[in-house]
């Protein structure tokens, strides 16, 4: 580790803490965000996520070494953590810390992009099914049943087999396209109850068309479950990417992702546990943080908590 990367890491840590503190300060004015920060775990989760995002963005500053460079495959492989290689080296003599840092870009990126695709598609299908009802609903929901019944990993295996070495964006899309079924059911249920509400009838009485009613009057009122499912979705997509990469069909090496780092290190689990431990820890940390934030969002956005004036 160089002094520069220690400094960058330190700045990232302080920055994350400051951002959370500032958000908290501002949030105290609003009932809704007070509920969000009520739980200490949520603040920690948010802090960790912000920290990791900063690290991912500033990867070249935080990582002291090239994540792909094999320093000396004979003499420097599987070294335990030391001052030079803070988290040790892997079987190809690459710096584990630098790979974890650059892996954050790939893993968080796929998680965010995949969840975005999944939640958008799920909301759209759910809203259309719930709003139009009848035959449209029946057809779409039977499709969703099929999607839920098929094991996702096999669909992805098939897709990957067709492409061979998926580019980053395609992988994220493929994961997103197979992850929206649950969200669509959730949104459909929400839309079914919302469209009986008076303000939806009132909007139609004003001459609003279907698209306007769905996107302006129905979906914004279903925002709470959609946002929560997005937060949880990022974690799920990230785990899925890790499993795919572990199976060797996710992110193509030598590009580091937390999943393929675990796959690379799996063979030397006994002799060099640090090669798998740290990417594994990173995955757990992100998923736990996302769950904590999702819990906080659920508290903040739950209309039942909305006290009279709020």
């Amino acid at each position: 580790m160089t002094l520069g990367s220690w400094l960058a890491l330190f700045v990232a840590l302080i920055g994350a803490a400051e951002i959370v503190r500032a958000l908290r300060q501002r949030g105290l004015k609003h009932e809704r965000w007070r509920r969000f920060f009520r739980n200490r775990t949520t603040s920690w989760g948010l802090g960790i996520l912000v920290f990791l995002v900063i690290v991912a963005i500033a990867a070249p500053l935080v990582a002291p070494l090239d994540p792909i460079k094999q320093h000396d495959p004979v003499h420097l492989k599987n070294l335990p953590p030391s001052w030079t290689f803070i988290l040790g080296t892997d079987v190809f003599s690459r710096d584990v810390w630098s790979r974890v840092v650059y892996g954050a870009r790939v893993s968080l990126g796929i998680g965010a992009l995949g969840a975005l695709v999944a939640v958008s598609l799920g909301s759209l299908v759910g809203a259309v099914a719930g709003y139009y009802g009848r035959r449209v609903d029946a057809v779409l929901m039977r499709g969703v049943d099929v999607g839920l019944a098929l094991p996702r990993i096999f669909i992805l295996l098939m897709a990957v087999a067709l492409w061979d070495g998926l580019p980053f964006v395609t992988l994220a899309l493929a994961i997103g396209l197979t992850s929206w079924f649950g969200t669509s059911r959730l949104v459909r249920a929400e839309v079914l109850s919302l469209q009986q509400r008076d303000f939806v009838v009132a909007a139609r009485a004003l001459g609003a068309g279907d698209g306007r009613v769905i996107f302006r009057h129905v979906l914004p009122n279903a925002a709470a479950p959609i946002i929560v499912s997005a937060a949880l979705g990022v974690g799920n997509v990230l785990l899925l990417e890790a499993s795919l990469s572990f199976l060797g069909i996710g992110v193509a090496p030598p590009r580091p992702s937390w999943g393929n780092m675990i796959a690379d290190g799996a063979s030397s689990l006994y002799t060099a546990p640090w090669t798998t431990l740290f990417p594994g820890l990173a995955i757990s940390l992100v998923v736990m943080s996302l769950n904590a934030v999702a819990d906080g969002l659920r508290d903040a956005l739950d209309p039942r908590e909305e006290g009279g004036a709020a």
């Binding site: 008076d198 303000f199 909007a203 001459g207 914004p220």
Partner: protein, 341 residues
């Protein structure tokens, strides 16, 4: 206000033989919520529709703009809702949307739930103007402020950015009125606009509606169960019972000479400040279920005058004096009324 005969000439809105039925679940049959309802609405007048809960008032008003939830509900073929010579029931969806909110607008019973909680009132008032007149955001906002001013909300420049939960019930109803009137419609359907409000606010809202009606020259279809509201604000009245029109007359005529026994009962049930205090009259029994209206006259089981003809033959709308019709055999056999007293 108008003296035209109820033949429909010159009417802005003509409703003829409107039948809106609902298919109930569990095979209990068809609820004939609105059954052969006919009336006319003339330019500039206020037509009151009165009746108890469940008599089909709201379904009638929703049917006019085709807002009945379908699957369960459907408007039967043969019904006619004619607005300025066009049958709204036969209009393709885009043309119908161009009528909704633009030429015929509606305000709802519950100001608490009829506003979208996630948008500011300004956004919601501007919505119809953006849809129908394609105003820019800035122009729409200016229009929203203007409308808030028109409906008597103080500080419109500030209120325009408030969310519905920041307003009181009366203010929300004013916002609803502003939303409905933003395109200066020719017809305003007000479905129990004051039922959810307390009495002083009720009076203010009705006064506001009356003032705006004169200023904008629109016709109002005022749906209510409150005869006091009708007496004070309607030019003509349609009394509904069990999905049917049972009596139509000028307001004064209706209050002075009620013909249908149901109207009589309703009027007798209004507490009077100028009469000696006595037990309040109530019409015996309840409105029957819409899936099983009684045979013959639908009011027969609750009618003090009913005789055997009422059991077998459903009465027709008979004209007594000009402009005053009632669906009762007593119109043709007035002697019976005295006999049973």
């Amino acid at each position: 206000m108008t003296t035209e005969t109820p033949g429909g000439g010159g009417a802005l809105l003509r409703v003829r033989d409107l039948k809106t039925y609902f298919v109930t679940e569990h095979g209990k049959g068809t609820a004939r919520a609105v059954d052969e309802v006919s009336f006319d609405l003339y330019p500039g007048e206020t037509l009151g529709i009165v009746g108890e809960s469940g008599c089909g008032k709201t379904v009638t008003s929703l049917s006019i703009l085709r807002l009945i939830p379908e699957p369960p509900g459907h408007i039967l073929p043969g019904s006619l809702i004619e607005f300025e010579g066009r049958n709204l029931l036969a209009l393709p969806a885009p043309e119908l949307r161009a009528v909704r909110g633009n030429q015929i607008a509606m305000i709802f019973q519950e100001p608490m739930t009829s506003l979208n909680p996630v948008f500011t009132v300004g956004d919601q008032i501007a919505e119809a103007a953006i849809i129908h007149q394609h105003l820019s955001r800035g122009a729409a906002r200016a229009r929203a402020i203007e409308m808030l001013q028109l409906v008597g909300i103080p500080d419109p420049g500030e209120r325009v950015d408030h969310y519905p939960h920041q307003l009181s019930g009366g203010m929300r109803q004013r916002v609803m009125i502003a939303m409905a009137l933003v395109c200066h419609p020719k017809v305003l359907i007000a479905d129990e606009p004051t039922t959810a409000l307390d009495v002083t606010i009720q009076a203010q809202i009705l006064e506001l509606l009356g003032r705006l009606q004169k200023e904008l020259g629109m016709a109002v279809l005022l749906i209510t169960h409150d005869l006091g509201v009708v007496a004070g604000h309607a030019d003509r009245v349609v009394v509904m019972y069990a999905g049917r029109v049972v009596e139509t007359a000028q307001t004064d005529e209706l209050f002075d000479h009620p013909t249908h026994p149901y109207t009589e009962g309703l009027l007798a049930a209004v507490p009077r400040i100028d009469a000696p205090r006595a037990r309040l009259h109530a019409i015996p029994g309840q409105v029957p279920a819409a899936t099983a209206w009684p045979t013959g006259c639908r009011f027969r089981p609750r009618c003090p005058y009913a005789w055997d003809k009422c059991l077998t033959e459903p009465p027709l709308l008979e004209t007594g004096t000009p402009g005053h019709t009632a669906r009762c055999w007593l119109v043709t056999e007035p002697a019976r009324r005295q006999a049973s007293r």
